[in-house]
Amino acid sequence: MNKKKWLATPYVVWLAAFIIIPLILIVYYGLTNDSGNFTLEHVKNIATHNNMKALLLSLKLSLISTIICLLLAYPLAMILTKIKMNSHSFIVLIFILPMWMNFLLRTLAWQTLLEKNGVINTILGHLGLPGISIINTSGAIILGMVYNFLPFMVLPIYNTLIKLDQNVINAARDLGANSTQTFMKIIFPLSLPGVVSGITMVFVPALTTFVISDILGGAKILLIGNIIEQDFRSSRWNVGSGLSLVLMIFILLSMAILAKYDKDSEGTNIW
C-alpha cells in the first residue's frame, strides 16, 4: 500500500502553493504596515466602533439565518427521506438545480419580489392585504442568506438521514420507544454529523458575505464582509488583511466548537 502515497504529491504541492502560502501572505499583510514593519494596528482595527458593530451584526444575522435554515431544513430532509423517488440523485439535483441560475441574478430577483411596488406587494395589494416592506432591512438580508444557503443545510442532513440504519430505528420501536423518543434518542443524535456540516456550510458563507447585504440591504447595512471588500477595493490591503485575520479566527473558533459534536469529521459531506 505504501506505493500509493506518491499519489498525494500533486495535491500536497498544490496545497502548499495555493492554500498555505496565500494564507501566510494574509497573515503577513495583516501584521505589517505599509513599510513592512510589524504592527498589530490592523488587527486591532476590529475594535473600532464601526468595525465591531459590523462584525457583531454579521454574527447576529448569520446565526439567525443558520438557525432558520436548520429549522426549515430538518423537517424537509425527514420528509424527503420518506418519499419514494426513483432516484436519490434526483432529490439532490432539485436543490442543486437553482445554482444553474447565477446566484447574483437569483438574489437580484428577490429585489423585484420584495420591492415596494414589487411582485409580492402587488399580489398582496390585489388580495386587499397590507404590503410588506422588508427590502433594505436586516430582514431582507436574512431572507437572502436563508434562500442562498438553504440547500447546503438540506443536503448534508438528508444524506445522513438516508444512510441511517433502519434496523436501529426499528429496534428502538421494538423496545417501546415512541416517535418523540426515537427521534430525540436515536435519529437526531445519529444525524448530528450532517447537522454539523450543514451548520458549517451555512454559517461561514453567511458570516462573510458582502454580495447579499449589498443587493438586498440597499447598502444601508454594512457587514464585516462589506468592510473587508471595500478595504481591498480601495487598496488598503494591510487593513483588509488584518480584518480577514480576525474573521479567520472567528471561523476557526466556531469550527472548533462544532468539531466537538462531529467526531467523524471525515465522513460527512454535502453530497
Binding site: K4, K5, W6, W14, I26, K53, F103, S244, G267, N269
Partner: protein, 625 residues
C-alpha cells in the same frame, strides 16, 4: 392523511421559496422593457439579441470552459490524493484533511483575496489561468469529501484478495476499488462543476481584464440594471438542464431499496450507473455550447488594445466598428467608481492602454505620475471637441496634455412628480422628513459629501474639517430617511415608482424619463457638481498608438453621436451635438443645461491623499451607522 397533506404543503412552500426568484427571472426574459422594474409587454427579442451579444457569449464560453477544466483537474488531483490519504497513517491523514477543509471553511472572500495576493506577489499577471488555478483550489476539497467516504466503505480485504490472486496493483485498483468509488468521483466532479459555475467572490478577486465569467459580468451589470439578454441566457441554461434531467430520470428506473445502503453500493455499484446521468447531462450540454462558441472566440492575436471604461459607457457597436476599421482587437474591462479604477492602474497588475477617469481623478493620476502625454498629431479629431470643454479641463489638466473629454454632465435630483407635493428645487428635499423611506441616496464618497456640503452652503471641494464634520452629521441624520444607497440602481427604482426622489447623473436622467414620463430632473438651486469624464493613456500602456487611434475614433462626430444616443450622457463633441435629429433632445435642458445652471456648479478637485483618506473615513462613518 392530514399529516401527509401538511408534509406535501410544506415541501410545496419550500419549493415555491426556492424557485420563485427563478420564475421571476424567466418572466423578465420576455419583458419588452429594458428595466427590471417595469413590465413593457411580451417579446422574444432578447433571445435573438442574446446570440448576437459577443460579450455575453464570451462570458458564457469562459464560464463553461473554466467549470469543465477546473472540475476535471480537481477530480484527478483530488481522487489521487484521496486514495493516497486513505492509505496514510492517522496523523498525516488528519493534518492533510485539516488543510483540505480550509478552503471549504474559510470565507470565500479570504480565499479569493489570499490567492490574489500571491499572484500579485509573484508578479503573475491576472488572467484566465489565475482564475483557473483559484477554481481548482476550491474545487479539490469537494472532490475529496465526495470520494473519501466511498473509499472508507470499500473493503480492504477484497483488494488484498485480488493481489493474492495475482492481480497487479493497478489491475486490482481498476477492477476492485475504482468501481466502488466511482459514484463518489462522479458526484465530486458534478459538485465541483456546479461550484465553479456559481462562484462569484473568488473569481472577482482573481480575474484579469477582459476575462469575464457570467458571474462577474452580471456583477458589473447589477448596478446599471441587468441586460435582459442575461435573463434570456439564464433561462435557456436552466431550462435545458432541467429538461435533460427530467428526460434521463424518466428512463429505466432502478434502486428502490434504500435500506441497507452500504450493502447496496457494494453489491450493485458495478452495474448501477444512475449516478452518471447528471454528469453526462452536464458535460454534454457544456461541451455542446463550448463547441458552438469556439469559433467566435478566436482571439486573432496581433494588435490589441486594453480599454478600461465605466460600465455601460459606450455603444458596443462602436467597439465592433473600431475593430473592423483598424483590425485592432479591443479587450474591454469595466469599473464602477474612480476610486476602484485608480489602484488597478497604479499597481500595474494590469496594463491598460486607455482609461476613462473623471476630472478630479485625472488630477490625482497626473500627480501620481501615472499618465503619459498625448500626441495630438494622432488625434486630429480633437477639433470637434468644444473649446469650452477643453478650457474647463485645464483646471485639472493644465495645457490639455493628458485628457480628451468624452462625456460630461451634472448631478441632480430626479423626482417623481406624482409622488411629491410640490416641484423640488433644493437639496433640502432629500433631508426632509416627509419623504422618509422614499429617498434614494447616492453611494459614492465625493458625490454624497459634496451634496451635503453644497446644501450647507460650502464648497464641494472643502478641506475644512469642521465643515466636513457638519456635512457628515447631516448625512448621518439623513440615514433613517433613506430607502437605500445606490449608484446606478437608482434607474430601475425610479422607473418602477419605488421611490419618490433619487440622486442621479444627468445622463441617466434622460434614459429614465424615456421609460417613465412622470420623472423630472432638476439641478438644485444651491448648486451641484458638474463633471467631465474623458480618456487618458496610462504610462505603462504597451499600445500607446492604438490608444490614440481609439481616442481619435471616439472623437469622430458620427461615432460620438452613436455613443450619445446609446448612453445618453451629454457629449462635448459640438459637431455631434449639431447632428442630433431629435429637437427635444438637442435642446434638452437636462443634457445641455443653460449656462446659468453650469456657472452655479463646481467641478471636483483632487484634494490630496490625506484629505481623500479623511473623506473616506467620514463616509465610512455614515455608512456604518
Amino acid at each position: 392523511m392530514v399529516k401527509k397533506f401538511i408534509q406535501k404543503l410544506y415541501i410545496a412552500l419550500l419549493f415555491l421559496f426556492l424557485y420563485a426568484p427563478i420564475a421571476v427571472l424567466i418572466v423578465l426574459s420576455f419583458n419588452k422593457s429594458k428595466s427590471r422594474a417595469k413590465w413593457g409587454g411580451f417579446t422574444l427579442n432578447w433571445y435573438k439579441e442574446l446570440f448576437a451579444n459577443e460579450q455575453i457569449m464570451n462570458a458564457l464560453y469562459t464560464t463553461l470552459v473554466l467549470a469543465l477544466v477546473s472540475a476535471l483537474i480537481a477530480t484527478i488531483i483530488g481522487t489521487a490524493a484521496s486514495i493516497a490519504m486513505n492509505s496514510m497513517k492517522r496523523t498525516p491523514r488528519t493534518i492533510l484533511m485539516g488543510i483540505t477543509n480550509i478552503p471549504m471553511l474559510n470565507a470565500d472572500i479570504v480565499t479569493g483575496i489570499s490567492l490574489m495576493l500571491i499572484f500579485v506577489a509573484i508578479h503573475y499577471t491576472l488572467g484566465f489561468t489565475s482564475v483557473l488555478i483559484a477554481h481548482i483550489t476550491f474545487n479539490i476539497p469537494y472532490v475529496i469529501l465526495s470520494v473519501m467516504p466511498k473509499l472508507k466503505q470499500t473493503n480492504k480485504n477484497t483488494y488484498e484478495a485480488a493481489l493474492d490472486l495475482g492481480a497487479s496493483h493497478f489491475y486490482a485498483f481498476r477492477k476492485v476499488i475504482l468501481p466502488d468509488i466511482f459514484p463518489g468521483i462522479m458526484s465530486g466532479f458534478l459538485l465541483a462543476f456546479t461550484m465553479s459555475l456559481d462562484d462569484f467572490v473568488i473569481t472577482h478577486f482573481t480575474k484579469g481584464p477582459g476575462i469575464n465569467t457570467l458571474s462577474t459580468k452580471i456583477y458589473t451589470e447589477v448596478r446599471k440594471g441587468i441586460k435582459p439578454e442575461m435573463y434570456a441566457l439564464s433561462t435557456l441554461l436552466f431550462l435545458s438542464v432541467l429538461t435533460l434531467l427530467i428526460l434521463i430520470n424518466r428512463a429505466p428506473k432502478e434502486e428502490t431499496a434504500k435500506k441497507n445502503k452500504k450493502q447496496r453500493i457494494h453489491n450493485e455499484s458495478k452495474r448501477n450507473y444512475s449516478f452518471l446521468k447528471p454528469v453526462i447531462a452536464v458535460v454534454a450540454i457544456s461541451a455542446l455550447i463550448i463547441g458552438s462558441l469556439v469559433g467566435m472566440n478566436s482571439t486573432s492575436g496581433g494588435d490589441t488594445l486594453n480599454v478600461y471604461n465605466w460600465g455601460e459607457y459606450i455603444d458596443p457597436d462602436v467597439i465592433t466598428m473600431f475593430e473592423q476599421e483598424t483590425g485592432i482587437k479591443v479587450v474591454y474591462d469595466e469599473f464602477e467608481m474612480n476610486e476602484e479604477m485608480f489602484p488597478k492602474v497604479e499597481t500595474g497588475a494590469v496594463k491598460y492602454d486607455v482609461v476613462c477617469p473623471s476630472d478630479y481623478m485625472v488630477q490625482r493620476m497626473i500627480d501620481a505620475d501615472l499618465l503619459s502625454e498625448l500626441n495630438y498629431d494622432n488625434i486630429p479629431n480633437i477639433k470637434y471637441i468644444g473649446k469650452d470643454y477643453l478650457q474647463s479641463a485645464e483646471s485639472f489638466d493644465p495645457g490639455n496634455k493628458y485628457f480628451v473629454p468624452y462625456c460630461w454632465g451634472t448631478v441632480g435630483i430626479l423626482y417623481n412628480k406624482t409622488m411629491v407635493d410640490e416641484p423640488i428645487d433644493s437639496w433640502g428635499a432629500i433631508f426632509d422628513e416627509k419623504y422618509k423611506n422614499n429617498i434614494l441616496m447616492i453611494n459614492s464618497v465625493r458625490d454624497a459629501l459634496g451634496i451635503a456640503l453644497k446644501y450647507l452652503g460650502y464648497s464641494l471641494n472643502s478641506t475644512n474639517k469642521e465643515e466636513l464634520k457638519e456635512a457628515t452629521q447631516l448625512l448621518i441624520d439623513q440615514k433613517p430617511l433613506v430607502q437605500s444607497y445606490v449608484v446606478d440602481q437608482v434607474r430601475d427604482s425610479m422607473i418602477g415608482n419605488n421611490a419618490a426622489i433619487g440622486i442621479i447623473y444627468s445622463g441617466e436622467a434622460i434614459y429614465t424619463q424615456r421609460e417613465n414620463s412622470d420623472l423630472v430632473y432638476v439641478v438644485p438651486k444651491e448648486g451641484s457638481n458638474i463633471w467631465i469624464d474623458g480618456w487618458v493613456i496610462p504610462k505603462n500602456s504597451e499600445h500607446k498608438e492604438n490608444a490614440e487611434k481609439f481616442i481619435n475614433f471616439l472623437c469622430r462626430p458620427d461615432i460620438a453621436l452613436l455613443n450619445f444616443e446609446y448612453i445618453t450622457y451629454s457629449t462635448p463633441n459640438t459637431a455631434a451635438k449639431e447632428m442630433i435629429e431629435d429637437d427635444d433632445i438637442r435642446n434638452s435642458k437636462v443634457a445641455f443645461p443653460d449656462s446659468s445652471i453650469i456657472s452655479n456648479c463646481e467641478t471636483f478637485q483632487y484634494l490630496g491623499d490625506e484629505m481623500t483618506a479623511y473623506y473616506d473615513e467620514k463616509w465610512r462613518e455614515v455608512m456604518s451607522q
